[in-house]
Structures are given as C-alpha cells and as structure tokens.
Symmetry: C2
Subunit: 180 residues, 2 copies
DNA sequence: CACGGCATATATCCGTTCGATATATGCAAG
DNA sequence: CTTGCATATATCGAACGGATATATGCCGTG
C-alpha cells in the first residue's frame, strides 16, 4: 500500500496535519502496522490535494508555526475504499534485531544478552502502553487488531524471556571454544 | 541495516549469486527477517566488490545462463562484524493486511472473513514449512530465531482463528445497521 | 506441436520512499 | 544562555522496489 492510501486511511478517521499523520504511524494507532516518512507524506498529500481527494486548509496558531489541516473528500473516500478491497500486498518485515540474532555466535555473549533484554523490555513497555489504551469503544476492526498485537507481542516477550539464558549459555560456551 | 550488510550476512555463511541472495530473503533462512530486492542487491554487490569486501567469479553453466558467484573477503567479514555490533535500527513493519483489518467496518463481512481465512491458512503453511526445517544442527542463534518465529506465528494464527467469527458477526451486524 | 509460464541468472530503469536537513515558534532544563 | 525537544511544513539526494529486458531451458496445456 502506498503512502497516499495510508494518508487517506488516517484522514478517513478525521482531519489531520501532515505532522499528525506521521505521528499516527509512530506512537499512534498505526504504529505497529505500517510506516510512513515526512519525505513521502508531504508529497503524497500534495498529490492527493491536486487530485481532489483531500483538501487542505491553512491555519495560523499561537506559539506554534502555522499548520495545514487536511480533510478527505468524497472522491478520496471512494479511492480509499477501492484500495481496501484490492488484494493486499505481502507483509514486509525489516528487523535488524532478528538479523543480528541469527548471527549470535559471532557476538560476545554479554552483548547478546543485553540486546535481548533491551528487546524484552521494549515488548513489555509496548504491552503496557497497549493495555492502557482502552479500545472498548473502538470499532470492531480496531479492537481485533489491538488484540492481535497484544497476543503476538506477548508471545514474543515470553519466548525471549524463556530462552534468553539458554542462548546466552550456548554462545558463551562456543565463544570459549573459539578462544581455545 | 542496508542491503550491503544484508548481502555480507548471507555471504558470511557461504558463497552465493545475486539470485541466491534474493532467494535467501524470500523462502530461505531470512525470509521473515528482512527484505531485499534485485534492484538493490545487484548495485550493492557491485559496490561491495569495488570496495574489496566481496569477490565475484563468473561461471558458465549448462542449460542455464552464466552466473557470477560472490564470496566474502576478510575485509568484508570485518565490516560485517562492525555492523553486527552497531546499535540495531528499529523494526519496520508494513502490513496491508493489518491496515485493512483496522477498517474492517468498511468492508463486506464475507470479504473480511475470506481475507482472515486466507491469512490463517498462510500462517499454518508457514508453520508447517518451518517445522519441517530441522534446525537441530543449526547454530544457536538460528535455532533461537526459528523458535521465536514459530511462537509468534502460532500466536497469530491462534488469535485469528479464535476471534474471526466474532469480528465477522460484528461487521455483519453493523453492516445491516448501515443498510437500514 | 506451439506457446506461455516458470525457474535460473544478470542487470538496469524510473518511480517511490526514506532520513536528514532547513526553516520557524516556543518552552524547559542544565 | 544554549541546547534539545515539541510542533509544523517542505525538500533534497541517497537508497530501494518492482518492472522490465535479456538469456537458456523445461514443462504443461490447448
């Protein structure tokens, strides 16, 4: 899904600035679902505006720079719906953490343990934040995705916690063998 | 992690062609860990070769086009190790599936159910393929990542299976309300 | 039998995206 | 007082993706 569609999705839920759209893909509702950078969001909004799918309104603010609030048009809603019913592309995952873990045998055991502990802590934090987000009044799909995220992150944190010692020990042992 | 590092990682485990490196990020060991396209792999290999981090050897083949097999140099191994001990970037996830799910209320209930069932089937298939890959003789890190993948995909499939009916019913019910 | 699709291979092109940067207004902490 | 952060918009140049081109075969279908 391209950035234009992602922007339409955010705007379908309510007016937003480019900055707020970026936030939605960081700590907001889409934070673990898709990514979008400023470098792509602003040109996308400009193209969507040009195509009549969104409308931007400039506003002055006190103590803050001016902002431009975008709202979705009916044409934008149609386009968004078409994108929703198109066949989804494949999930794409880029995880430095997992890639590094794959080569655990090349790392000092202490560094490895620290890496895993940091990730466990990260998962626990995410889980806490997610649990604090009451989705009781959310739409069915939002609740569903929220629950799925909780289940997956819980499983990951649990696995990491349950197996970190064993990986550490094995890397320690083989690290010693290499040194001999 | 950039594509050059990813290529070094694959080559650190053994010589490979550009095509084989791509395969490693599809159905191979890195298939759920990172992504890399031909458009990025070939220029990366060229740059790595230029920098003396890999070495390419052209080979003729029978019944197949010629190929170029790359091997990693000592300089390449050093660079790879430096990348491994650098702080990892954040995981990046792009999931059309999850994004669409978020807007389940906008979809026909039957289409939604089909989408989820397809994803459940996909997870089950992945799990089967992963279980069939015996990692008993693999390195500790490979075994760890393999086990983590199994745990996470199992949790996802289970959650989807356990909650798909409820989502379907809720979207059906609210779809009827909209029609009235 | 012929054609299309697939697999194995390399390489490139152009559109898309990213991350850093620039600019602006304030506020808070050291 | 200076730096870093938050809120905002916008752009630039590097990195990447997906399609395409080319090549050699093989296999399945009409």
């Amino acid at each position: 899904m391209d950035i234009k569609t992602l922007c339409l999705g955010v705007l379908s839920r309510g007016d937003a600035t480019g900055y707020e759209i970026k936030k939605a893909f960081e700590e907001g509702p889409f934070g673990h679902i898709h990514v979008a950078s400023f470098g792509a969001i602003y040109p996308a909004l400009a193209a969507l505006s040009e195509a009549g799918m969104v409308q931007g309104t400039e506003m002055a603010q006190e103590k803050r720079p001016d902002k431009k609030v975008f709202s979705i048009t009916e044409r934008g809603r149609s386009a968004f719906f078409e994108a929703l019913i198109a066949p989804p592309g494949e999930d794409k995952v880029r995880s430095d953490f997992l890639f590094i873990l794959f080569f655990a045998h090349l790392l000092p055991a202490s560094r490895l343990a620290a890496l895993i502990d940091r990730r466990i802590a990260w998962y626990r934090e995410c889980l806490q934040r997610m649990e604090a987000c009451s989705y009781e009044n959310g739409r069915a799909g939002e609740v569903f995705v929220h629950g799925l995220g909780l289940a997956v992150y819980q499983a990951a944190a649990d696995y990491l916690s349950a197996h970190r010692d064993r990986l550490h020990d094995e890397v320690s042992a083989s690290g010693r063998m290499v040194a001999e």
